[in-house]
Symmetry: C2
Subunit: 429 residues, 2 copies
């Protein structure tokens, strides 16, 4: 399509998206210079505004639910979309929790003086402008907006079309709070159309005004973002997490940690998808672990050795080792020892989170030292892979990339730094 | 072009580039687990190998110089390409200096214990596989290879076609040192062809095997990399650096710092390109500063107010404010005060490095606090924007992006981290 035949709407979408970017960049400059108290007050006011507008938000949500029902969306997706009084209250409480986090900005991260007398400080500053692309949950509008504001960043939100009305109603509450505190409304913007072409513009970086994109959603969204983004992306691909029960594992601990890692919540990225168990302990321990899992409704798919011990188990395929079930299904492999376990995780893992259960300190140190996932645990459930559980407060996601942020992405991970250098007239020889 | 008509060579280039990526990924796993002593020994041996192979390297360089002369390349570019005994020695010394840096890996960056007893440590690890794309200087082959090795990363080097033979000869010395220490040769690989299509493959990330791209070169290279890369890029765009002489500047200091910032070396990214000077001090100070600069051979281009004070000065254009001269030329603007100076830098700066000269502490703090460049200086030359001057040792460049690395990129900036979590059977409630 050349310029002459391109519909006017495409041009005007491009224009309005670029205007969004410029406004965000200007707002980011203001946010970077405003006080933590100001940013915190906006968050407090936003929580109050959400409560005050609860009826409007539920009305908007009813429109989204009607459309969802017309389109016969899956029940799980409908549930993610649904708001009620308790859920609106939970969103407001989440804003207050983000407000209560320590200010991530301004900290001196390093401070040294050179032999020539120059004093150099590395000081934490906001990232700038963050683009967030997410799917159906309307609460992300508030969470993501609040996390960006807390860390002094302007944000451009692009929610899913399913949650369009709900997200806009929540967004209006945030903007009211910005306005009440004389901060630019463009600090938290929403893409003004559900048109999917808007995502492409956002991924282009809007003429250099967007510093980073954070996608929150399923595989297809992440894949598109990774493919099309012209700016850095902080995102997580899969959480194909492993629990390795070592020969020296304490049996009861192994049973409970494996059960928790798989079954506490099966749909989160920190849920275990594969159990590796040493051949030395499998004959006694695997039946106990399996009974606990099956008693909780978990389907097990094992390799030949596992099935020899537990004949009722399903057959695992090569593809299973690479599958993030996000469901009550667990792949099981009996391994000869730690070397085979490490090799399996290196081959099939997604670099998210892995746990070893053992009373053998040397085996634990090998596992923690030699593997290279974002999070490695000893004697603890993989379901601890979470910013809140790490003590970071709310998180915007778990990063599996290796650049900038890795593991839980909280307010501190949404910052950059600058160098401040104080001299007394030094010139470079 | 569809698959049937695509020439075989394009497929085989893709295949060989992807093989490079897989080998690099495997080598990165070995490097991440080898000791600092091993990596340091490789660097010591590589310095020795460079010295032992000096004649071969100079012979290879002669081939590059012959081709350069046939193509009548610019004298400055020929000088960048030229090696002699002293330059080969300097490359070897640089390797030894990188060897002597502290090991960046394994450090515990943070360590805390949660109320449930989980102990969480953030531990520094290598980034993984780094792709480096550079232009004519053959010494980058050794520097970049050594910086990546020191930080435990595998590297894929893509040098300029002008320095093809020189870079290969230097690369062979590095590989000999890897081999002598039983480390995989694929830890430091060179793209095996000067074919420019190879760059496109590297920028694609080679099937997920490349973690980050670092471009070192001119504007066109950086622009192509930013446009085409499907993996994160750590690069610097322009160094459009400003010196602001505030009304309360000490005159002699202002004169010497401005002179040094512009004239010490005009071709580096930390060289000043624009002088902003307060109207209050310009009548007395600008003539002194200008005389010093013009005495050193610097051309000045001023706005109306500057030219009213110094009628001999050239006329500055709107485009000058946006031009990184990298030459003995300086734009000069007389400003009403700090607000106008800050506004000018926000409008025209590239976010690299700016300096304020003043004896007024409050003005300095506003400048350092409110601007958002990677490096902000008070009473010191912008030419200190350099990893060595910051005490980081050798640098691979100055990052102007805001993600991951910012400012000088040394070995520490070529690392990532992982979380190591030790428990006693904790399950998540």
């Amino acid at each position: 399509m050349n310029a002459n035949t391109r519909p006017v709407t495409a041009d005007s979408l491009a224009d309005s998206m670029h205007a969004l970017g410029r406004a965000a960049r200007a707002a980011a400059g203001v946010l970077a210079r405003c006080s933590a108290a100001q940013r915190d007050q906006v968050l407090a006011d936003a929580a109050a505004a959400l409560r005050a507008r609860r009826a409007d938000i539920l009305e908007a949500n009813a429109l989204d639910l009607e459309a969802a029902d017309r389109n016969a969306i899956a029940p799980a997706m409908r549930d993610r979309l649904l708001l009620d009084e308790a859920r609106v209250e939970a969103i407001a409480v989440a804003l207050e929790q983000i407000r209560a986090l320590p200010d991530p900005l301004g900290h001196v991260l390093a401070d040294w003086t050179r032999p020539n007398g120059l004093r150099i400080q590395r000081v934490r500053v906001p990232l700038g402008v963050i683009g967030i692309i997410y799917e159906s949950r309307p609460n992300v509008t508030a969470d993501a907006g609040a996390l960006c504001l807390k860390s002094g960043n302007a944000v451009i939100l692009r929610g899913g079309s399913e949650s369009w009305h709900s997200s806009r109603a929540i967004h209006e509450a945030l903007v009211a709070a910005l306005r009440a505190n004389d901060l630019p409304e463009a600090a938290i913007q929403m893409v003004p159309t559900p048109d999917r072409a808007a995502v492409g513009h956002l991924l282009s970086g809007l003429g250099g005004t967007v510093d980073v994109i954070v996608p929150r959603g399923g595989k297809n969204l992440i894949a598109r973002v990774q493919q099309d983004a012209r700016v850095p992306v902080i995102g997580h691909l899969e959480g194909l997490c492993h629990v390795y029960v070592h020969a020296a594992a304490e049996p009861e601990m192994a049973r409970e940690v494996v059960f928790n890692a798989k079954m506490r919540r099966t749909g989160i990225c920190g849920a275990a998808e594969t159990l590796l168990i040493d051949a030395a302990c499998a004959p006694t321990l695997l039946p106990q672990i399996a009974a606990r899992l099956q008693g909780g409704g978990c389907e097990l798919r094992g390799d030949d050795q596992a099935r020899a011990l537990m004949p009722g188990m399903g057959v695992v395929s090569e593809e299973d080792w690479r599958t993030e079930y996000l469901d009550a299904v667990l792949s099981v492999r009996v391994v000869a020892g730690i070397d085979e376990a490490l090799a399996h995780i290196r081959e099939y893992g997604s670099g998210h989170t892995e746990s070893i259960i053992t009373a053998d300190a040397a085996a634990a140190e090998r596992f923690l030292g030699e593997l290279d996932s974002a999070i490695l645990l000893h004697n603890a459930s993989t379901q601890f892979a979470d910013g809140g559980e790490f003590g970071m407060g709310a998180e915007i996601g778990i990063a599996t990339g290796r650049i900038h942020a890795r593991g839980p992405v909280g307010v501190e991970q949404l910052t950059s730094f600058k160098y401040v250098v104080r001299g007394s007239g030094q010139t470079r020889p």
